[in-house]
């Protein structure tokens, strides 16, 4: 919850001292190209998709290489086993597996003779009841943010991810909530209201997707939120976010719920 305090603190330092920004070049170390797995199962009707690609060096500027010769299998704890079918662009599609609350899914990916495995259990669904507008003025200017209204269950350990689109443009902030604070209560915490590139204004249409995510997905996304710039003014020392994939691949296998609501900001 508090991760937004640090950027604010930084903001003070920066505005105070007429900071100057510039684009620089730095020597970079060699990169080991790794497999990237992006695999999701949701509570919506399938098919579900798995994307395989590879990482490239930081100073390369080409399209990310895709993997079209992998084998991808997803099984669940009821004995269903589904071998995915390759479509295109590194994307593989499920045939028969179904996303069900509480069920555990097993992913197996084989690429160039190397095997990668992961498992994820779909959490129970917490209903997104509605969206509300949170209005607050900063320096006399109205700022808007969205509060997703849902009631957190009394059991501890629920995690949520929210994906916000403002007029169909993806807001690339990660909104990861847990019940480490305010467990069992109706949520009052607003989503991040954009950044310098994107923010919510009057008449904007905002869509919010709520995902109930597993603890491993929470850890993965929350680690991403913590990675600011390097240096004395930066965030925590960045690392590849810890994920649930064995075998040394980047990315995540996530079984989660999904539910989307839309709201328009009226005139104030």
């Amino acid at each position: 919850m508090l991760h937004f305090i640090k950027p604010n603190y930084l903001y003070f330092t920066l505005f105070l001292f007429a900071s100057c920004e510039k684009i620089i070049t730095l020597p970079v170390k060699d990169n080991e190209s790794k497999l990237v797995i992006e695999a999701n199962i949701t509570d919506k009707v399938g098919p579900y998709f798995v994307k395989l690609s590879k990482s490239i060096s930081i100073n390369e500027s080409k399209a990310y290489p895709i993997i079209n010769n992998g084998t991808v299998i997803i099984a669940d704890n009821t004995g269903i086993k589904d071998t995915l079918k390759y479509i295109s662009q590194g994307i593989y599609k499920t045939n028969l597996i179904k996303g069900v609350y509480g069920r555990t899914y097993f992913l197996e990916v084989n690429v160039d003779g190397k095997k990668y495995t992961a498992q994820s259990t779909m959490p129970n669904k917490v209903n997104l009841d509605s969206l509300r507008i949170n209005l607050f003025p900063i320096n006399g200017e109205n700022q808007f943010s969205i509060i997703p209204v849902y009631k957190d269950p009394i059991e501890l350990g629920n995690s949520y991810r929210f994906i916000q689109k403002i007029n169909d443009t993806l807001d690339d902030n990660y909104n990861i909530f847990t019940d480490n604070l305010n467990n069992g209560k109706v949520n009052q915490r607003p989503l991040n209201n954009g950044n310098e590139n994107i923010s919510i204004k009057i008449f904007d249409v905002v869509s919010v997707e709520m995902q109930c995510i597993s603890p491993s997905a929470q850890l993965y996304y929350f680690t991403l939120t913590q990675q600011g710039g390097a240096g004395p003014g930066g965030g925590t020392a960045p690392t590849n976010p810890p994920n649930n994939i064995n075998g040394g691949a980047l990315g995540l296998f996530s079984a989660h719920t999904t539910q989307t609501k839309v709201i328009q900001i009226p005139f104030y």
């Binding site: 900071s19 100057c20 684009i23 900063i138 467990n183 930066g234 020392a237 960045p238």
Partner: protein, 772 residues
Amino acid sequence: MSNFFKKYLLLLAIGIIGFTQPIQSQDKTTVNGTIKDKLTGESIMGAVVKVDQLPSVVVTSNEYGFFAISLPKGKYDLKISYVGYEEKRVPITLNGSLTIPIFLENKNQLADVVVASKRKDENLIKAQMGTETLNMKSISKVPVIFGEKDVLKTIQLLPGVKSAGEGNSGFYVRGGAADQNLILLDEAPVYNASHLLGFFSTFNSDAIKDATLIKGNAPAQYGGRLSSVLDVKMKEGNNKNYTVNGGLGLISSRLSIEGPIQEDKSSFILSGRRTYADVFLKATDKFKNNILYFYDFNAKANYKIDDKNRIYFSGYFGNDELGLGSSFNIHWGNKTGTFRWNRVINNKLFLNTSFIYSDYSYNVGLKNGETNFNVNSNIKDVNFKQDYTFYLNPKNTIRYGFNSILHTITPSVFSGTVKNNINKVGRNGLENALYFNNNFKANQQLTFDYGVRLSAYSIMGGDVYNIYKGDAKTSSILLSKNEFGKSYLNIEPRITTNYRINDVSSFKVAYARNVQHLHLLSNATAASPSDQWIGDSYNIKPELADQTSIGYARNFKNNTYELGAELYYKVMQNQLDYKDGTNINTITDVESALLYGVGRAYGFEFLVKKKLGLFSGWISYTLSKTERKINGINEGNWYDAKQDRTHDVSIVTIFELNSKWTVSGVFVYNTGNAVTFPTGKYSFGGQTLYQYASRNANRMPDYHRLDVSVTYENKNKKKREGSWNFSLYNVYGRENAYSISFEDDPADKSKTQIKQTALFRWVPSITYNFKF
């Protein structure tokens, strides 16, 4: 372990030698006294007392100016010297024990000393290593940002001490973390020594007498932190005359008043400071609702009950306020209070009893539409200390005593619309220490300063303590209030040896073990007021550091130049870090996410000073390496700590053109901090993510900067003194990197651009200081 015993036996052996010096004959008598400044009545610590007739006798005054020497009956001449003061010769006739007050007179000439040593060749005679004392007068001409002289900024120009960077008042000593420095203000620990995002320190130079930094080889009366002790002492206040001091600057002003309560018996000093950057913010459209200021206040009074008893009271409080309209605010502040009672028990034994209180708290408030909450953290100490100085004979000065501290640490407690899931309560811990230290002058060449500190930390009740093995919680212990849990007991042996090779050079060797029971967890690479302290627990063991150092000191040209070189090697155990993706402020039990490991640091420090003359200054250079190895970070391999900087250079020059004009300059250069830059990138969820390899394998760009300041002093008028200080920070406008981030190039998303943010280029400032 056997190694440890060897060291211990060695200590014991030296102890025995120390005490089996020729038994003193019965007709020995003692002369003691207090050394003070004649003009202000301030007591002088570290003044050197010599006996003309016995060249081997050298005694230095303690923190309260007290000294004692045992001598056979007879006639002697005492020679008392302290830098910046006229040497005083006092003839005495010892028939029985004698108490004499000694007043030293300020040298009536240009302040000709930059870094004050108490005696011109003090660096050669003392068995103390890695120690520097700065007095306020001597640092007043060193340029600093915003024109505000600052002891914390000046010590960062010394070898082995590294600044944590702009916008950060933390400092690193010999590879230690910022929380491994014990910062004392009149004996009271100061938990956050920074104001205004680190651009100012909590030490108002008008209220400060001097500051001593000891880099890891502190005598046994100090303890509790691994890397260093910064012992800051407040002025006592002039007990002869009333004086008013002050300064007006562009963003801050200060004022202090001192004077006698009863002449020669008691005095006081009151000193306050406030910034007014917020006044300027109000004038701007964009930031008019922003709040940004700090203030602090120092007060001290002392009262001489009789010749044998004196009491002191000193206090500090300061507050920082930062806010964004009504939607967001942070405030933090320290409060400290010290009550001391000096007592001369007999002519050889001096006792100081202290009651100390220290409180640091921070509060973050957020009001964002309907969300409205506060987060509060707090650390409180109540501290009782008795410290004896026993002048056994001219060869042995013994310090012994004990110290008991009750810590109460309350981690982030939420209130308002956001609440913790479990009721977070403060944890108590009791830290006890018993120490013994002897300064033993074996002969004119050889001096030993050795001692041992026995420290204990007891976990106390009021909270549940969980025990973890790896990731799993194995059990929980509920301690009720005032119930004691586990205790950690540590023995901390220390020894420093000084061998004076000849009149101009000396060789030193030292070993010390330090133990730390309080640990700072930080969410970021930079120090922030929201960083959280935690005491030892069932999982967290005391941090240990063993430091060995050797040094060589040599003076040139009749002590005009001083050269010092030291090598150190330090091994640290039970170092703390936490797992990736941990939010230490909201996690229910932060101990579930901690990682443990070891650290090592080694380096070479070099300092050459020109102490006297119209042109003075110093060059300091440090070559060092600092590494950490933590289970669960960087695959358990050694990695460079963030504060590892290979080269660190500071050059300070002060040139007094005439009695009115002084020009000074500071140049600093250091290798960039060790940081982690991405090596690769990939696409995930429609966004570019970065791939990282080893921790801290990259470097920030080199940091360097030149500051210049000009001081004009007007001493024409008899009673009133005024001075103007003009300074320019970062003269050649180097954009030093504050942070570096990687992002998609907006022009071509397939490219990555590296963006560097620098805080500022030039910072000019003007300050007017006055005294009447």
